[in-house]
């Protein structure tokens, strides 16, 4: 059973000139937040991604089901479309700061694409970032080391114009990613 969020279009092989993700209207601006990257440096999201196609996703490393599929799909498009990837930024925010160290986040992202940016922060900083991004706050369920994290299941896409034109719930097909990232990359500021 895949996510039931409806996506426009059927994701066929024919390239479309329209976005096939879930279109956001009117498109909100990028959220302003500062977190810490995997090198331990402050990362000001708006400043560091200015003018670039930006994909923002909140997840956690113990998630074996949803998170790897999203990241692998985006990495696949980056492989196929190097010109798009060159001016794009993928930002993965771990919402599990108690378990996910910066080093572990780096190793995790390198499984997909070493260009992907990994961020973490204090719980308060992460909640602030999630609120700014307009997603539900992560919830921590269960006890001991095997607790799970309820988290927003969609990737938020910002075109180079700095606006969030579309989001990508779980169940987005590879062809839809390929189609949309090319369109979004052309929506300059």
């Amino acid at each position: 059973m895949l996510a039931s969020v409806a996506l426009a279009g059927c994701g066929g092989d024919v390239a479309s000139t329209e976005l096939q993700g879930a279109v956001v209207e009117p498109p909100p601006p990028k959220p302003s937040f500062v977190l810490t990257d995997t090198a331990g440096e402050s990362y000001h999201f708006v400043e560091r991604t200015k003018g670039k196609l930006t994909l923002l996703y909140f997840g956690y490393l113990n998630c074996p089901d949803i998170c790897p599929v999203h990241l692998a799909q985006i990495a696949e498009v980056f492989d196929q479309l190097p010109a798009v990837a060159r001016d794009a930024v993928v930002v993965f925010v771990s919402v599990d700061p108690d378990r996910d160290s910066p080093e572990e986040i780096r190793t995790y992202l390198d499984n997909f694409d070493s260009r992907f940016v990994g961020l973490t922060g204090t719980m308060a900083e992460l909640e602030s970032a999630q609120t700014a991004a307009g997603i539900p706050l992560a919830r921590y369920v269960g006890e001991g080391e095997t607790y799970t994290v309820d988290h927003a299941g969609w990737v938020i896409a910002y075109a180079p114009d700095g606006l969030n034109h579309s989001v990508y719930p779980f169940g987005t097909r590879q062809s839809q990613w390929t189609n949309d990232l090319q369109i979004l990359a052309g929506m300059g500021g």
Partner: protein, 146 residues
């Protein structure tokens, strides 16, 4: 990205139980672990007009195996929860796939794409059944064509 046809072809040889009795398992696959845990997916077809119940599993490739379900909350959050058992309807199908049910392999061993993993599924009626799952790229677990 491999097509479903390629995936089906690769796993067709890996069906881990004898034909003709008990549940039939196909498309057994494990996403290459990218973190501490991995997810095992497969499809089970019941036969002989009787249902069964998948209660647990064992594998040397992980510290533990748990049945989990991912659902979407009203606010769009993805929620992963352990489930006690999974029912295989009589003459029906039980599908474990991303975004639905999966067998979580907790603290999985280091696995490379193309490796195979032996997993013993424990059924309430059929008993133990060993299947062989292929390790696939993290994005190839959906079994969908692109």
């Amino acid at each position: 990205m491999r097509s479903i046809a390629a995936l089906a072809a690769s796993v067709a040889l890996l069906v881990g139980c004898a034909a003709g009795s008990g549940p039939q398992v196909t498309e057994a696959r494990v996403g290459q672990p990218t973190g501490p845990n991995a997810a095992l997916y497969f499809t089970v077809v019941g036969n002989q007009g009787e249902g069964d119940r998948l209660v647990t599993a064992h594998t040397d490739a992980a510290e533990a195996a748990e049945l989990h379900e991912t659902t979407m909350g009203d606010d769009g959050s993805m929620r992963m929860r352990p489930v006690e058992a999974l029912d295989l309807p009589a003459d029906g199908t039980l599908i474990l796939e991303p975004g639905g049910y999966h067998m979580m392999l907790i603290n999985a061993a280091r696995l490379e794409v193309g490796d195979t993993v032996d997993v013993t599924l424990v059924w309430e009626t059929a008993g133990d059944m060993t299947i062989v799952a292929e390790v696939v790229e993290p994005g190839d677990t959906t079994g969908e064509s692109p």
